[in-house]
Symmetry: C2
Subunit: 585 residues, 2 copies
């Protein structure tokens, strides 16, 4: 038998055969009905109104969900509905699958919400003398899950709840197979996660609604480990000199994160017990320190990490102050110093699915460069030092209010400060602009020497650039330039073969592409090919928080990555020395 | 292309196509070559000698295994071997899959060894500057496992091992996905497990070699909880009167088990760190107590348990003194009081795969009766009390040396004692024989009254049977008889429809079938249909220890079981009263 499903109000028509699933027919027709609970009739997110046609008897769960949503009796769950005649339906907007856009700038990558932690409001059945089901079986039946993992602690709690006949509960379920927690009453809407961009210099913590994908709020703070060393290498050195130093570093970052989370939750009136997962995107060293894993293998050749992909950890076990049963997932480290910040960034920008040859550059203390060709994915890491973050520069500053982030060429320099505040110093993008302008004005030579044999060039009354500052920038730029040239060479590509360059990192839109090309930080290509994707590590962490398939993708991706070691490459020295001059390439 | 594989010395011939897998062709031909490591070329258990034919270049791992086994270079792993020409091979006996027989009496059920814990001897690669793999990746590569779970603790340990260049290690791997432990050097042969029959009255602990399936040794001891009550009901009552009582019961059994395990290990010169898994088969109450789960839901209607199937637990977490990372698996509870002892017993006897109608009877303090028909699996539980175990009987005893376990009819009773020792009392089977003989001699009536109006019947000089003892036995027998009759009635079967009865429990071969039928404990059917299967709980625990597929089978099985509640059944009273008389049925 062939039937017709008419979708109102547009009167679009779909053909269906006897007993076919309504949700599947709608999917085939390109209508993205929600399948949050994997079509188990559990979440109530795919209700459609049967305007005309058969309305089969409501199941127990369906009736429960209908009542809770306040829908009339014409509604049915599309995932349970088998087509057995002609139909006219309307589809409420809430039943359409929700997508979140991951990057906040540059390119739009939608992902479908499918978080690891899902909450279901349930009415527990009481065991009866005729069916003396065990509590674990009752829960398996309610959740329609075979082989559910449930801890002894949760079982005890459930036994109490059932004994008190408090049968309306909300189950927080992890990856569809593990009970994290049972909460009383309906707390389905209270389901939150935390995305963390764990940088060497800066930490960003974002509060995310796991049900809607909404980014609720975020906080940025300096990494409190800065007091133990400003860059990764000095942190590693500190960590390995004494065993207790690793503990100090770990406690330091943990305290920062807990304080930031506490602040975010308080501000948004969310209780910590409703935060069920944290996803961290950090570089290898930060990841190791957070877990308390020794970093000695990152301190000397062959500079390898202890882990790449890691199973989800217990948040409580690691010391996070959120729900006691919450999980922590780390975006996987790729190789050596190329860590979870980069894997998250690649994920967020859907990098490996681009058509053509693409570069991904993360301009941080460590410069990470990834090249994607038709059949290869290669990464290299180059120590740029903290100059791009305004560190080790005499009047340098992090990108804080008052930082000179941009300069334009007029008689005097036209300077722009963050927040339009009084200038306090120069941050990375400001330095790049100023150096390009000074080159234009021939105040410094291509070799980087200040021309009028002064020791420093004044920028404002009390802000200047010294010869040493310029040398720092030359080294930082040369590191990146060498990395880019070598990874292209290794893959027999010229810059003209590139279809695009993604620039990740805090630089964001403030970086002048033209000036970056002029001083040789970026290769001279069509400006339109260069895209700023902002804090892609944080975006990737959010994607991993909101989408289980994203975790699979990132794991599959890191297995494909090949590593290009610069240090041992015979060409490295030559390329590096050639790159010291400010020169387009 | 079609090739021929000749198996020497029998010269049996097998046909194969180009590039077919040797191990698969041999399997198809009914030759059970070992696939311990799932054909990953990892365990070295499927070596065959290539007498004639292509010998492809040895892989790194293959070479390593060959050297360790001291085999010559003609040998290849059949799991990695692709057929590309005519072959003549010989198959060493060690390469044939090992089977263990589970039940020690009654019926022979073979199982293939496929334990959850497997050990592999590895040579770790050191990360290199060109390939700075993380330690977790190195291990995944060595073990040919994607997405291996490894704890932070193990990662730290591995980092130390690699830093010290101690690269020969043995990995204990759980279910092919989790590293339990890394041991230095080759400890592959040290891989042990413990099977536990956790009875209300008696505990049996068996030491098992997980590599060979060999049952190395066993110990039997009374359940030390006996001091808190002789039967399940009194233990439950004790547990629920005060919260600390549950802890007392739990500590008591844990101490017993740890002491028994320690004794077994010492006697057999095995270190506790080489014991990686415990499987427990216990009734619902014992299982709950062992885990520290409250038993209040087993104390009153509807008498339901907290859990049925449970994820593997941490042995250390539960308090077992074996390897710190070892696991504990509990044979799943079925329903209500029907626990893991019965699920293990059904598994061990391959009960659900019998053709026809079968009864499984476990004669313990609780009598458990399972009926299998063509399309149903039904269980019921009946409180027989401890009379069958010689408890609550004036001269009763457990089946200890000196127990009268058998009696034959002569002028005087001919008595048999366990160990041929001086009689100390009468155990269950002895009681059944004596009552049957006293009925024959008309010393007692069918209604159970002692005929010559004496209060007790002397058996030896200082052992006798009282009127009260006979009443106890009548109640115990009536409980079983009622259970059997009601479960048959519920399924519209007559005793003649039964194709077999399996009798499980410590009674073993000592139970006289004829006398059991005479007094009405068992239905009067062809004696050949009745099979004693001994301690099937222990056998099932051993099967679960040795075979992962067995765990899947037992989980699938318990989901099929329907529960027959006797207490609420309107027929129960009538059937029970009708069953009080000693009468065949």
């Amino acid at each position: 038998m062939a039937y017709q499903v008419k979708i109102l109000p547009q009167k679009r028509k779909i053909k269906a055969k006897d007993n076919e699933s309504l949700v599947e027919k709608l999917h085939e027709a390109g209508i993205n009905l929600s399948t949050y609970c994997n079509k188990r009739g559990l979440c109530g997110k795919c209700f459609v109104e049967i305007v005309e046609g058969l309305r089969p008897r409501l199941g127990k769960r369906e009736k429960f969900l209908l009542a809770h949503k306040g829908l009339n009796k014409n509604y049915r769950l599309a995932c349970l509905y088998k087509i057995k005649g002609n139909l006219s339906i309307t589809i409420p907007e809430e039943s359409i699958i929700q997508e979140a856009f991951i990057l906040k700038t540059g390119i739009q990558i939608p992902i479908s919400l499918d978080s690891a932690v899902k909450k279901y409001h349930l009415k527990l059945e009481k065991p009866s003398i005729v069916n003396p089901y065990s509590i674990s079986e009752l829960l398996e039946t309610s959740l329609k899950v075979k082989d559910l993992n449930i801890s002894l602690e949760q079982l005890k709690e459930l036994q109490n709840i059932i004994a008190q006949s408090k049968l309306f509960v909300t189950a927080a379920v992890y990856k569809n197979r593990e009970i994290l927690n049972i909460e009383q009453n309906n707390t389905v809407n209270e389901n939150f996660g935390i995305a963390v961009d764990l940088g060497t210099t800066t930490v960003v913590v974002e509060l995310v609604n796991l049900n809607t994908g909404e980014s609720i709020d975020l906080l940025t703070a300096p990494n409190s480990q800065l007091r133990y060393g400003s860059d990764v290498i000095s942190r590693i050195s500190f960590a390995i000199t004494e065993q207790k130093n690793l503990v100090k570093l770990r406690n330091s970052i943990l305290q920062t994160l807990n304080q930031m989370i506490e602040k975010l939750l308080a501000k948004n009136h969310i209780h910590k017990s409703h935060v069920y997962e944290i996803v961290v995107a950090g570089n290898s060293s930060m990841n190791h320190i957070l877990l308390g894993l020794p970093v000695k293998s990152l301190a000397r050749a062959p500079f390898h990490s202890v882990f790449s992909r890691l199973t989800e950890q217990s948040a409580q076990g690691l010391g996070f102050k959120i729900n006691d049963y919450a999980k922590v997932y780390l975006s996987p480290n790729i190789k050596s110093f190329v860590g979870g910040d980069v894997s998250a960034g690649l994920l967020a920008s859907d990098f490996i699915n681009r058509k053509g040859n693409f570069l991904f550059i993360d301009l941080g203390t460590n410069g990470e460069i990834v090249l994607k060709t038709e059949n290869r994915l290669m990464v290299t890491s180059t120590a740029a030092g903290p100059a791009f973050e305004g560190m080790n520069i005499s009047c340098g500053t992090l990108a804080l209010p008052g930082a000179i982030y941009k300069a334009e060429n007029e008689d005097q320099f036209k300077l722009f400060t963050l927040g339009n505040k009084r200038a306090i110093g120069i941050c990375g993008t400001g330095l790049i602009d100023l150096i390009a302008l000074l080159l234009d004005k021939k105040k410094i030579s291509a070799k980087g020497s200040i021309q009028d044999s002064k020791k420093r060039i004044p920028i404002t009354e009390n802000i200047w650039i010294t010869q040493k500052d310029i040398r720092e920038m030359q080294l930082a730029i040369a590191a990146i330039k060498t990395g880019i040239k070598m990874i292209l060479k290794e893959n027999r590509l010229n810059k003209e073969d590139l279809d695009g360059i993604f620039i990740a990192g805090a630089f964001g839109n403030y970086l002048s592409i033209e000036n970056s090309m002029k001083i040789g930080l970026l290769p001279w290509i069509d400006e339109k090919k260069i895209v700023f994707i902002g804090n892609s590590s944080l975006a990737g962490a959010r994607a991993l928080l909101l989408s289980q398939p994203a975790r699979k993708r990132v794991n599959a991706m890191i297995k494909r990555v090949r590593y290009l070691s610069l240090a041992k490459n015979p060409r490295f020295q030559k390329y590096f020395i050639d790159s010291i001059e400010f020169q387009t390439y």
